[in-house]
């Protein structure tokens, strides 16, 4: 309840806040614009409603992307029985990024023609080839998730150091390939290279309704899996053999959880680029506050992720206004120290390798 109220308040705040002071909206106006978008009440006059609509779309994107990343992290943590797993650390978001980029290149999408004169690759991609971008992002994410699962599990159990090191290695490989792609593009097509580079920082402004839809579908599909894997992941905590002897179909559970984690991370990446640490921080805080049962952790992570990313965007806009940072760096600034603290708190477990 508190979370839902916080989310609603943040949403109003997000609509009120913008990058340009020329379109300052009051709280009342922001509220009215929201209601109008939902089909309730009259819209704001002229340009104000247009501006508000843009902000509503960006706010919805932030909430959906935050929720998707957090659910993805919660699923991976349950699957790997490891509180340090997250789509970023495991390499799932890198896989999604690379998948999306390669998908675009494969259809010859990275051309001035497709970009249609706009230099924002993602907006262009979403409006011109959303299925390819999101589909290939999903494929890349799933491939990495399955690969890491196979590589890091020994005797059905995944140790913390192994998982982290495999993640580092996978991220290094994918980063290298991505850098090579960018390097070629820098020489070939400066504009595209630049927008790719900006994408890697993540972006939650100037999104489109199509992107909101993509993010919503990704989150929705992942949430569909929740009732099918919650109890099962609870039993996974005792190891795969134990879960199996208690009646869990281990293969099916892994496939569902990996698929759901991959699709939510992939849609988030294809809509907003790489935004780190949401998937790590949120499930961790949810477990601290509400216990470790997945029937609670998974949906509450969705809510928490939405609140965190939308809140970060609001704080970002409120504090820095037009000079705002992209969400990628913002979340890294919050999440980096958090992750370090987590590692230090679990120093003993990490050191027992």
């Amino acid at each position: 309840m508190v979370g839902a109220a916080a989310l609603a308040a943040l949403f109003v705040a997000r609509v009120q806040l913008g990058t340009s002071s020329a379109f300052d909206l009051g709280i009342g106006d922001a509220f009215r614009a929201l209601l109008a978008t939902l089909g309730l009440g009259d819209p704001l006059p002229d340009l104000d409603q247009v501006v508000a609509r843009g902000r509503i779309i960006d706010g919805a994107t932030a909430a959906l992307v935050g929720a998707s990343l957090a659910v993805s992290g919660a699923l991976l943590q349950g699957l790997f029985r490891n509180p340090l797993a997250s789509p970023g650390l495991v390499g799932v978001t890198s896989g999604a990024s690379l998948g999306a980029v390669l998908g675009l290149l494969a259809i010859g999408g990275v051309t001035d023609e497709l970009l249609g004169g706009r230099d924002d690759l993602l907006v262009a991609a979403a409006s011109n080839a959303p299925v390819v971008v999101t589909g290939s992002a999903f494929f890349g994410a799933l491939l990495v998730a399955v690969f890491v699962m196979l590589l890091a599990s020994r005797g059905g159990r995944v140790s913390v150091p192994t998982l982290l090191l495999v993640g580092v290695a996978v991220n290094a490989c994918l980063g290298g390939i991505l850098a090579a792609v960018q390097d070629v593009l820098v020489r070939d097509n400066w504009g595209v290279a630049q927008s790719l580079f900006r994408w890697l920082f993540g972006s939650l402004t100037d999104r489109t309704a199509v992107q909101v839809l993509i993010a919503a579908v990704g989150l929705g599909l992942a949430l569909l899996a929740v009732p099918l894997v919650s109890r099962e992941l609870d039993l996974f905590a005792g190891g795969e053999d134990t879960a199996s002897s208690l009646g869990v179909s281990v293969g099916r559970t892994k496939l569902l959880a990996l698929g759901a984690a991959s699709i939510s991370a992939a849609t988030a990446v294809s809509v907003a680029g790489q935004i780190a640490f949401v998937g790590l921080v949120v499930p961790h805080l949810v477990r601290q506050g509400f216990g470790a049962r997945h029937a609670h952790v998974l949906p509450l992570s969705a809510l928490g992720g939405a609140v965190l990313l939308l809140g970060a965007e609001c704080a970002n806009l409120a504090l820095l206004g037009p000079a705002r940072l992209q969400p990628g760096p913002v979340l890294s600034l919050i999440g980096g120290p958090f992750f370090l603290g987590l590692l230090l708190a679990r120093r003993r477990e990490v050191a027992t390798w």
């Binding site: 005792g238 134990t242 002897s245 208690l246 009646g247 216990g291 470790a292």
Partner: protein, 277 residues
């Protein structure tokens, strides 16, 4: 024979089972072992003989390379996971679970195989959990978090979870590892009770003396082959065990009223004539 709900006999049996882990040497080389009603079978043997592997094969967690592991005539590993879990329960060596579970919640995990997708716990589930808590004597700990339990209590919670599955066969892997003698006795008393009507248990253990007191039958697995299978007095003898464990064993017998017959004891004991002495 173990009897199922419809009054038909059901057996859990390995026949001619061969198994090797991928890329490794064969671990089991033609093992026959059947569990019958009321039995508490102790599975003993040197480290690396394949005892835990055999347990996993009978529990359906592994598939034999050759031969069969069957429950009532169907391959255990081929059964749907829930159906298998309603007949065969496995008690692992160590307890891992979500950190904040209470004992009761942990034991209720055994009901997973009895519950539908969107169904909560039924009255039947709650009754089964209560019976399991009682039988394993952890009812007084029901509301305690798992993290507060002692080693012996953790073992009993593990057995209780297996009991709440209401299985016909309970497979137990080295239950007394790292327990003090009092808790060893307590856990084995509990395991001896698993062989009551309609149920059977197979217990992997290194503790020959506990096996001697509580098992109805002892199976000796050596190097992937069953080298002895029979009543306690026939297996726990110098002639059977010395070729396997070496000459450093001393044998004797103890008798107590109510036992009916004397039970052998076996001790690893340094001999004065031993060059290592």
């Amino acid at each position: 024979m173990v009897i199922d709900g419809g009054g038909n006999p059901v057996a859990l049996a390995a026949e001619g089972v061969h198994y090797g882990y991928p890329g490794g040497e064969p671990v089991l080389r033609g093992v026959d072992l059947a569990l019958g009603a009321g039995e508490v079978v102790a599975l003993i043997g040197p480290n690396g003989a394949g005892k835990s592997t055999l347990l996993k094969l009978l529990g359906g967690l592994l598939r034999p390379d050759a031969g069969t592991a069957q429950l009532g005539g169907s391959d255990v590993a081929g059964l749907p996971a829930k159906e298998r879990a309603r007949s065969v329960a496995l008690v692992p060596q160590a307890l891992f679970a979500l950190p904040d579970l209470t004992v009761e919640e942990f034991v209720a995990q055994g009901r997973y195989a009895h519950r539908g997708l969107f169904r909560g716990a039924s009255a039947e589930d709650r009754a089964a959990v209560a019976r399991a808590l009682d039988e394993a004597e952890v009812a007084d700990l029901a509301r305690r978090p798992l993290a507060e339990l002692s080693g012996g209590q953790r073992q009993r919670a593990l057995v209780a979870r297996a009991l709440s599955q209401e299985p016909r066969f309970v497979l137990v892997d080295e239950p007394t590892n790292s327990l003090d003698p009092a808790h060893q006795l307590q856990v084995f008393e509990l395991i001896a009770g698993l062989g009551c009507v309609g149920r059977a248990a197979l217990v992997v253990t290194h503790d020959l003396n506990l096996a001697s007191q509580f098992a109805t039958r002892v199976v000796l697995l050596t190097d992937g082959v069953v080298t002895a299978d029979g009543p306690v007095r026939e297996v726990l003898t110098p002639g059977v065990l010395r070729p396997v464990y070496g000459d450093g064993l001393r044998f004797g017998e103890l008798f107590a009223p109510g036992w009916g017959e004397a039970r052998p004891w076996v001790l690893p004991w340094r001999s004065p004539g031993d060059p290592r002495a």
